[in-house]
Symmetry: C2
Subunit: 323 residues, 2 copies
């Protein structure tokens, strides 16, 4: 099956999950966020990994659903914590319903992950839940670190990389490893799939940081400079602080503490410091290191070149690169 | 082992669970709420049921921990939703830490439930998680119904009984059934244990409603009349509305819509209507029906009288009755 067939099969599977009407709001909120769409990257990774390692994708389908449900659980709760009004251009769950319903719907979505994992072949259930739990706790840790960083004056670049590994990257690794596990792959194959996903996830998040500041509005799809306006502690900002001379540090600190400012002016000024220090290049190099680690993990798999290319093509598409 | 030994053994087990220090707050919040104490009724029920049906309580210990963790997860999230400042006389988690930490710590506590359930004997893991998931979703449903009822003008007594069954009672049933399941009890024994716990839970909640209005402050431990002051839709109030004549309905409705009032005066006036209608007696009868159903489920078990009496004694102690 090609990626499009896998994708279609997954949507069909998702539609077989039935959401009760009562109590009002509870399950409706889960169904609402699921139908907002999104790229379904994570379930795709479960199925792709599974197929490439000769699994039966029907067996892996509940794992794909569990991973997508978990992703949506984390979106529901993160959006509350971040006070986010919009998600994929539509109201977030706590805006569409209310905060209490969003807390409870997130909880219910998390429980449903385990309902899905119980549908896996009996001999796989425990190992799958074990990996899932480890990952789920790491994602919570990543989100907590992210929130703590907001109020912390000194965050190192290493702390930041560890935070994005936990918050974003491990779930991609988990998705790929689950697919491999369900294809009866051995532990080395499983770990290589995990490594592929995890490194790809870090590269992807770094790219997101770079594009937020240096992308162009048309292809990025979000407002460019949003991270700068909000003082978000991204790789770029943290690296800039690390390498700035005293004068540059002062200018940066001034912009970060200003309560009133013109958005365009602030973005230009901070970008100017970034350019002086050359943090874009440093971030691109860091991103490239992780991307190459991901590719390296693919090349270590005992699979034919066609299959390797399929994994690499997925990663390249995710990074919006020409292969 | 007597109840005190079981209790001690459970606390020892809880202490073996290690909570990481990082990220700050995340696991500390779980450890904080666990050490606030509480009566540990639910884990006690797991172990008691297990022992009475000749299980090895060591095998059941992780299930007891899972149930206690789940209870604490639900307290953390419910306290956010209810805006509760205090729990067991101490700050609630979202007050002690912050709301975002409380959301995430609750999530992590829920994930830890499954970590515990994975520690059960391999042949029991799936069945235990299945029962746990069903119960966990029902508890979420109960909480959602409870919140919906707050803004609903007409709630029937039957709706209310179903809500407390979901929100409170099924977890006691689940605890007892898990204990039985882990003792290799057959499905009838398991269901009778579930029924015992579930009916006891409904009776317990009804008693709580009655004591909140008719208890005396010294033995109740909370402010008497709190439910009336807050217009809480309890069994008493809903039943009173159901049976009130037009004049009584008007007086009740007046007190419920008053924005400013003297607490003592309101409690006296509403109690006065309750007494005219006789809702205390009706609530006590309803409570007694559920308590007797619980006792009946015990008597149907194929266990000796000493064991039956031990279960009944537990229920009686919970209801603060002389046996």
């Amino acid at each position: 099956m090609n990626n499009m067939d896998l994708s279609k099969k997954f949507e069909d599977y998702l539609h077989t999950l039935k959401w009760k009407n009562e109590p009002e709001g509870l399950y409706e909120a889960i169904s609402y966020i699921l139908q907002l769409g999104g790229k379904r990257i994570r379930p795709q990774l479960v199925l792709l990994s599974n197929q490439i390692l000769n699994g039966n994708v029907n067996d892996a389908m509940p794992a794909a659903a569990a991973i997508e449900l978990f992703h949506n659980f984390s979106l529901i709760h993160d959006d509350i914590m971040d006070n986010a009004p919009l998600r994929r251009g539509k109201k977030t769950v706590h805006q569409k319903f209310d905060t209490n319903t969003a807390i409870l719907s997130g909880d219910a979505a998390l429980i449903f992950c385990y309902e899905e994992l119980l549908k896996l072949p009996a001999d796989k259930v425990s190992a799958a839940i074990k990996l899932f739990n480890k990952t789920a706790l790491e994602v919570c840790e990543g989100q907590q670190f992210d929130m703590l960083f907001e109020n912390k004056s000194t965050v190192s670049v290493d702390d930041y990389l560890e935070m994005i590994r936990l918050k974003t990257a491990v779930l991609l690794g988990c998705a790929l490893q689950l697919g491999a596990m369900l294809a009866d792959a051995n532990s080395i194959q499983q770990e290589l799939m995990y490594e592929f996903g995890m490194q790809m996830g870090v590269a992807f998040q770094l790219q997101d940081d770079i594009l937020d500041t240096f992308g162009n509005t048309e292809t990025f799809g979000k407002q460019v400079g949003g991270d700068i306006i909000q003082n978000k502690k991204t790789f770029l900002l943290l690296k800039a602080f690390e390498l700035a001379n005293l004068e540059q540090q002062k200018v940066l600190a001034d912009w970060l503490t200003k309560k009133e400012f013109d958005n365009v002016e602030k973005v230009e000024a901070v970008k100017n410091i970034f350019n002086q220090i050359g943090v874009r290049k440093i971030a691109e190099t860091e991103m490239e290191i992780h991307f190459q680690k991901a590719i390296h993990a693919v090349h270590q798999q005992f699979i034919n070149d066609e299959k390797k290319n399929r994994l690499i093509a997925f990663a390249s598409a995710l990074m919006k690169r020409e292969k």
